[in-house]
């Protein structure tokens, strides 16, 4: 039997599938099975992105998967409450908090939580059962459009995650907080996917916190699809504060209808290897997208932000601002692309990536790209890689501020341009505080076992 299979042309990476294929992911829901079937085909075609893949040139994810790890396909038996293992570090922030543990939605009660106005929040599996027509109509509509082997792998493997539905006209007054936790005794690989749907004239804010609670060499890939209806507004803040042996992969897909407004803020404070894909489709006229990112990396940490903004309709606006500080031997990459389709006239699209290298060993690769097929557009892009402004540093020191503090002030100022774009005030304050602590080296994280698999 094995001989027969060997005859089929197989991408070498499909080895990895065997490690996942214990059958547990099957038959949970027909929609997941359908998605898995197409995803497997995609994965067999694409494989894990390797060095020759332009979009993954600076982040060797292939090597990750060569390591021994345990794919986690079903939730462990849990006999504890989330509060016992994790407390959110943002106490002043009044949010509705939900947890995904090791890729599976963690909730005592089975059914989706129903909030005033018909808002539904809960686990993806549960949503597929409870509101199948809604979940089925949207699931995988965005993530199936990209040629990315990592995304295909997630689509093939993930069977749970977070779900949120905000009906037409519903303005949520509290932000929803999604805490992605990883905790295990083994080096597990976690794949989860989430679905967020906003109807028309709706408003919501989502805070996503990625944490690792033990020091194993985890690999986590969280995929999220966000559908934002006409005239709706959504703010997503993602906070990554993990340890040096954590690999945090994230793929966020957003589709925006007419006159919708979305703002994302991706704040990476710690992590062994972080790769964030952000894929935005401006589908309806007058849609507006603001994508902000801030990363502060040191030691041998690696961070890679890959942003793709697709102007698929006229009169849309997009703005990207990603800023990073790399210390020690940290490495980073930014790959931002703006695509303006032929009929997307009157597009305004901007992109800036600014980086500060604190040592000669830190390294940043930045690649802003414009691909424009419409003629009546306003687009700019730019990138800088440099050191702290020596003139400014001297100015501060000449007023008696010690060099160390002066550097902190300047780095803080550099980061401020991004942080000030977080529009939830208590969250902005808290992130300011976290960044300040991070810059002073006072933010707790695991100091052991550096990742060794990135370039």
């Amino acid at each position: 039997m094995i001989v027969v299979e060997e005859k089929l042309p197989k991408h070498p990476d499909t080895r990895i599938l065997e490690r996942f294929d214990d059958g547990t992911g099957k038959n949970i829901h027909p929609v997941l099975d359908r998605v898995r079937a197409t995803a497997l085909k995609d994965f067999k075609r694409l494989g894990i992105p390797a060095g020759k893949n332009e979009r993954y040139r600076y982040t060797a994810v292939g090597k990750l998967l060569d390591r021994p790890f345990v794919p986690l396909l079903h939730p462990h038996h849990r006999n504890f409450k989330v509060e016992e293992i994790f407390r959110c570090d943002i106490p002043t922030l009044d949010t509705l908090e939900f947890t995904v543990l090791n890729g599976f939605f963690f909730e005592e009660q089975e059914t989706l939580m129903e909030l005033p106005g018909g808002v539904l929040v809960g686990g993806l599996r549960q949503a597929l059962k409870q509101v199948p027509q809604l979940a089925e109509a949207y699931l995988d509509n965005l993530s199936n459009t990209v040629n990315d082997g990592l995304v295909a792998l997630n689509r093939a493997m993930a069977t749970d995650g977070f779900f949120m539905y905000v009906p037409d006209g519903m303005v949520m007054d509290k932000p929803v907080q999604l805490v992605n936790l990883v905790k295990d005794d083994e080096d597990i690989m976690v794949q989860h996917r989430s679905l967020v749907i906003l109807g028309k004239d709706a408003q919501a804010a989502l805070l996503i916190c990625d944490h690792a609670l033990s020091e194993q060499k985890f690999i986590s890939h969280g995929l999220m699809e966000v559908f934002v209806g006409e005239n709706s507004a959504m703010e997503i803040t993602k906070l990554q504060n993990e340890h040096n042996s954590m690999t945090d992969l994230s793929s966020l897909f957003i589709r925006q209808e007419r006159n919708s407004r979305v703002r994302t803020n991706t704040i990476s404070l710690h992590g062994g290897l972080i790769r964030n894909n952000l894929h935005v489709i401006l589908q309806g006229e007058g849609a507006e997208n603001q994508a902000y990112g801030l990363f502060l990396m040191d030691r041998k940490q690696h961070v890679d932000n890959s942003v793709f903004v697709d102007h698929a309709a006229p009169h849309c606006f997009s703005n990207q601002l990603y800023k990073g500080v790399l210390d020690d031997e940290a490495t980073g990459a930014f790959d931002g692309k703006i695509l303006v389709r032929p009929h997307a006239q009157k597009t305004e699209a901007f992109q800036v990536n600014k980086n500060i290298l604190l040592t000669d060993h830190a390294k940043m690769n930045t690649k802003p790209q414009l691909e424009i097929y419409a003629d009546d557009v306003k687009c700019t892009h730019g990138a800088t890689v440099g050191q702290l402004d020596e003139e400014a540093l001297f100015y501060l020191r000449s007023r008696g501020i010690h060099e160390y503090e002066a550097r902190m002030l300047l780095m803080y100022a550099f980061a401020h341009e991004v942080i000030r774009e977080i529009k939830i005030d208590p969250l902005q304050d808290r992130i300011h505080e976290l960044v300040d602590k991070r810059l002073h080296g006072e933010l707790p994280r695991c100091h052991t076992c550096l990742v060794d698999y990135h370039k």
Binding site: D389, E391, A392, F394, Y395, L396, R397, S398, R399, G400, I401, H402, E403, E405, A406, L409, L410, Y412, A413, F414, H416, E417
Partner: protein, 256 residues
């Protein structure tokens, strides 16, 4: 309080200062004048400790202590202040945070605790009025989007906050209209005490009508080629620098 002895300094291996001697005592106002490119700012930079100014010979003593071994912040904490010719913009660092950091470093150095926020704001208000700086400016980032004149006022405002013993004002008058010049000068004069000293760098005599110097020095090609009382400034205003340059070149030729 400041003694500069035979100071030679280079920038990028180019000799800029070629043997400066200067003695400043408490309570004095010295003016340093001279054409552009003479080395006036370089001299100021050497005193405050810019690292690209490489001192090759001579000494800078401040209350008998060799300054050259000290970091810029140590010099500042000991009471040396430079009003920059070109104050730098620092986006993202608010004036308030910046000044509070500077004030508190100074207090720490003197063994005092940090200032209470209300005392700090009170002091800011007081000094703002003294130097006539627009209140809104201190709510912004350091120098960001300030006009040339506003930047200069901001320098004097910082000086008023920090109350240095030795203030060096590098071309503080350039870019100021006559009214702004008057308020700035008024501020500087109000800060004058018997135990502090001021070095005013300028190439116009105009400012010296308002901040009256005890001594005037002319710096040319990295050397002080003439020193005198305040009347020297009037001579320069009337006759320009050419006669001095000529006198200097002739003296060089004569000595050959």
């Amino acid at each position: 309080m400041l003694t500069i002895k035979d100071l030679h300094a280079e920038i990028d291996e180019k000799d800029i200062l070629k043997g400066i001697n200067l003695e400043v005592h408490p309570g004095e106002v010295h003016a340093i004048m001279g054409p552009n490119g003479s080395g006036k700012s370089t001299l100021a930079s050497a005193v405050v400790g810019r690292d690209y100014v490489n001192i090759t010979q001579g000494q800078i003593l401040y209350f008998r202590e060799d300054l050259t071994a000290l970091s810029p912040e140590e010099r500042a904490l000991k009471g040396i202040f430079l009003s920059f010719q070109y104050p730098v913009e620092i986006p993202g660092v608010s004036m308030v945070n910046f000044l509070r950091a500077a004030m508190n470093e100074q207090r720490k150095y003197k063994g005092e605790g940090p200032m209470s926020p209300s005392d700090f704001l009170k002091l800011m208000r007081e000094k703002k009025t003294l130097v006539g700086i627009d209140s809104a400016l201190t709510n912004r980032s350091v120098n960001e989007g300030f006009s040339g004149g506003e930047k200069k006022k901001n320098e004097i405002f910082q000086m008023a906050m920090l109350e240095p013993k030795l203030a060096i004002l590098d071309e503080t008058d350039s870019g100021l209209d006559i009214d702004a010049l008057r308020t700035v000068a008024k501020g500087v004069n109000a800060l004058k005490k018997p135990d502090n000293a001021t070095i005013v760098i300028t190439h116009y005599q105009r400012l010296l009508n308002y901040i009256v110097p005890d001594y005037v020095h002319v710096l040319y090609k990295g050397k002080i080629i003439k020193s005198g009382g305040k009347e020297l400034a009037f001579d320069l205003e009337e006759k320009g620098y050419d006669w001095l340059k000529e006198e200097y070149e002739n003296s060089l030729n004569g000595s050959l």
